[in-house]
Subunit: 344 residues, 2 copies
C-alpha cells in the first residue's frame, strides 16, 4: 500500500491525503478521520524519511530523562509522559528521549537539538538560574518549559502550576484551624517547585505571626520511605508539629504510616495536607483517612504541553505561551482543628 | 569545537576519538573515559546526521508506549525505562518512543521500524499469541522482548522472570502454613505474565488438593484502588480467603488497607504475599506489617535488556538471547500459619 493506492481507495487526491496525514489545518476533521481510519485498516506506512524531506519536520518532541545509578525513577515522570502521549498519538508524533546524568542535562539537551531529530524540546526539572533557558533561547528550536526557573526573567514559553499559591492556601487553612506548629515535607531543595512551595507556606504563616523553623523542613525524593523518615524525625522534636504540609501523595503515604505507628489520629491529633498530582496508582480519597489536598493533574499538564508544542510545529492554532494553573484546595478528613492540648 | 579540534586537544587521532564516541570495542576503557570527559567539558556535539551516515546507525532504541484516555499510566513503565536509561546513557544511545492506542500496538511498532529512526526494538506487554512476534521476526530490525508470549514457539530473544515459578513458590509456602482458602489479585487477564502467575498458583494448590475458585480471582490494573476493591470483595464471601497472592506491591497497598479496615490482623488472621518489582517509591519492608514478597528488580531487567540490545548493535560482546530470571521468595511478617478458627 503506497500513498497513491491509499488515495485511490479513499477517492481523494494524494495531496489531500498527504495533508491530512501531516496535520495541515485546511483538511477538515471528517476527512482526516477517514484517512486515519484507512491508514489503520490498511497498515499503510508513510515513509518517514520521505515525509521529513517533504515537510521539513521530524514529527517528534525531544525530552531529556535524568537517570543514574542511585537516582530513583520518578512516578511523576511516567504520568506526565502519558499525558504527552495522549496528545502526540492524535497527530502521529513520537518522542526522542535522551537519558542523561542529572549533572549533564544542559549538554544533553543541546545535543538533542543539534541531532536534528526533534522539532521541539520539552524541558522540566527547573532549577534556580537554570542554564538551559538561555541556551535554548539562543537556538532556533521551539520549546516549552514545564515549571519555571527562579532568578531569571520569565520571558519564555512555560506551563506551571501556582506552587506558591497552593502551599499558601494550604498553610493558611491550617493556621485558620488554630495550628501553631508546622512542618513541611518537600521535594529536592534545588528544584524550583520546591522552593516556591516553601515560600508560599512561609508567607501564609508570616501573616499569622508564625514561622517554619529549619528543623521542621525536610527535602527529599518523593518516596514513601522518605515521607516516613521525615515524619518520624518531626515526631521526635520537643514540640512536634500538629500541621504537616507534604509535596506529594507518595510522601504522604509514608508520613501517614509514621503517624499511625505513633498512635496518633490523623485529622485529630495531627493534620496533613498533601499535593496531589492525580497519580492513578495512589488516590488521596482512598487513604484510610482521606487526605485534604492541593490538586492539579500532571497528566493534564502533559496533554496541554504536547498540544501547545504540536500546534506550534504544525501551525494548527495560536495558543497562549505562558500558563499558570491554579490548584484546587480540596478539604477531606485529614485536616481538623488544632488539638486542645497543644496551645500556641 | 569540531572533531579535529577535540582530537588535537586530547592528543588522539580523529579515528580513535570517533571510535570512542561510537562505542567501538577496540578503544580501551580509559581512553573512552578521557574522550567522554572532554566531550562533556568542551560541549562538543557530534553531528548526528554525519555520524549516522558514517556508521549506518541511528544510536537509538525504539519503544511503543500504550496510552489513551482512560488508560492509566503505569509506575512499572517508568521504572523499567529508568533501567533502560542507565545503560543507554553509557553508550550515548537515545530512545524513540511512539505513543499508541493499546489496540494499535502492532501497527505502531511496524511504523516505528519502517521509520528508519531506530536500530532496535524493545517489546513489552506480551499477550497470548501476540501478533507482534511474527511481525518482528519477518523484519530485519533486532529486538528483545520483555516477557514472553503464550501459544507461539519461544524462538525469539527475550528476558522474562519466572512468573509461574514465583507464584508456585508463594502459594506452596502458604499451603505449607496450613492455609486452605486462597485468593489472587492479579494484573490484567489478557497479559501473559498474569496468566503465568495464575497457572503457578493453581499448580501449587493442586499439589495440596486445593483449588482457586473463580470468585477468588480478581484481574485489574495495578492501582491501590483496585487492590482495595478486590480485598473488600473477597472479605464479603461466605468463606473468606485467609491466604492472598497479589501481583504488585501497589495492589497490596489497597488490599492491606481493606484488611485493616475490616479489623483483621495481617500475618495472623490473614496472610499475604505480593510480587515486588523493587519500585523505589514503595518498599514492602516499610509496610506497617512488612510484606512477604516474590522479588525481581524491574530496573535491573531494563538495564539488562538495554545492555543486550546495545551490545548487539555495536558488536560489543555476545550475550545470551534468552534469559529467564528466577525470583526470590523473601519471608517477612505478612505471612503466618492459617488461623485456628478456619479449619480446612
Amino acid at each position: 500500500m503506497n500513498l497513491k493506492q491509499l488515495s485511490q481507495l479513499l477517492g481523494l487526491s494524494q495531496t489531500t491525503v498527504s495533508r491530512a496525514l501531516n496535520g495541515y489545518p485546511e483538511v477538515n476533521a471528517e476527512t482526516r478521520r477517514r484517512v486515519l481510519e484507512a491508514v489503520r485498516e490498511t497498515g499503510y506506512r508513510p515513509n518517514r524519511a520521505a515525509q521529513r524531506l517533504a515537510t521539513g519536520r521530524a514529527g517528534s518532541i525531544g525530552l531529556v530523562m535524568p537517570t543514574a545509578d542511585g537516582i530513583y525513577s520518578d512516578v511523576h515522570f511516567g504520568e506526565f509522559l502519558a499525558g504527552l502521549g495522549d496528545e502526540a498519538v492524535k497527530h502521529d508524533f513520537h518522542f526522542v528521549i535522551n537519558p542523561s546524568h542529572p549533572d549533564d542535562e544542559a549538554a544533553t539537551c543541546r545535543k538533542l537539538v543539534a541531532s536534528g531529530n526533534v522539532d521541539a524540546i520539552f524541558l522540566a526539572y527547573m532549577r534556580e538560574k537554570d542554564p538551559r533557558i538561555p541556551m535554548l533561547k539562543s537556538l532556533k528550536t521551539p520549546f516549552v518549559v514545564h515549571g519555571r526557573t527562579i532568578g531569571v526573567p520569565t520571558d519564555y514559553p512555560f506551563l506551571d502550576i501556582d506552587n506558591t499559591g497552593a502551599f499558601y492556601d494550604a498553610a493558611r487553612l491550617l493556621a485558620q484551624l488554630g495550628h501553631r506548629h508546622f512542618a513541611l515535607i518537600n521535594g529536592p531543595d534545588h528544584l524550583a517547585f520546591a522552593m516556591r512551595r516553601k515560600k508560599g507556606a512561609k508567607r501564609a504563616l508570616a501573616e499569622h505571626g508564625l514561622t517554619l523553623p529549619e528543623e521542621c523542613i525536610y527535602h527529599a525524593r518523593m518516596t514513601d520511605e522518605q515521607g516516613f523518615q521525615a515524619m518520624e524525625r518531626f515526631l521526635r522534636l520537643d514540640t512536634p508539629p500538629t500541621a504537616i504540609l507534604c509535596s506529594s501523595t507518595v510522601l504522604a503515604l509514608g508520613a501517614v504510616r509514621a503517624i499511625n505507628q505513633a498512635g496518633l489520629k490523623l485529622g485529630q491529633d495531627i493534620s496533613l495536607i498533601a499535593h496531589d498530582d492525580v497519580l492513578p496508582m495512589l488516590r488521596p480519597e482512598n487513604f484510610s483517612v482521606p487526605l485534604t489536598t492541593t490538586r492539579s493533574s500532571l497528566r493534564a499538564a502533559g496533554q496541554r504541553i504536547a498540544q501547545r508544542l504540536i500546534a506550534g510545529i504544525l501551525n494548527l492554532e495560536v495558543l497562549p505561551q505562558q500558563e499558570l494553573w491554579k490548584t484546587d484546595l480540596i478539604v477531606r478528613a485529614s485536616t481538623g482543628p488544632a488539638p486542645a492540648g497543644k496551645p500556641a
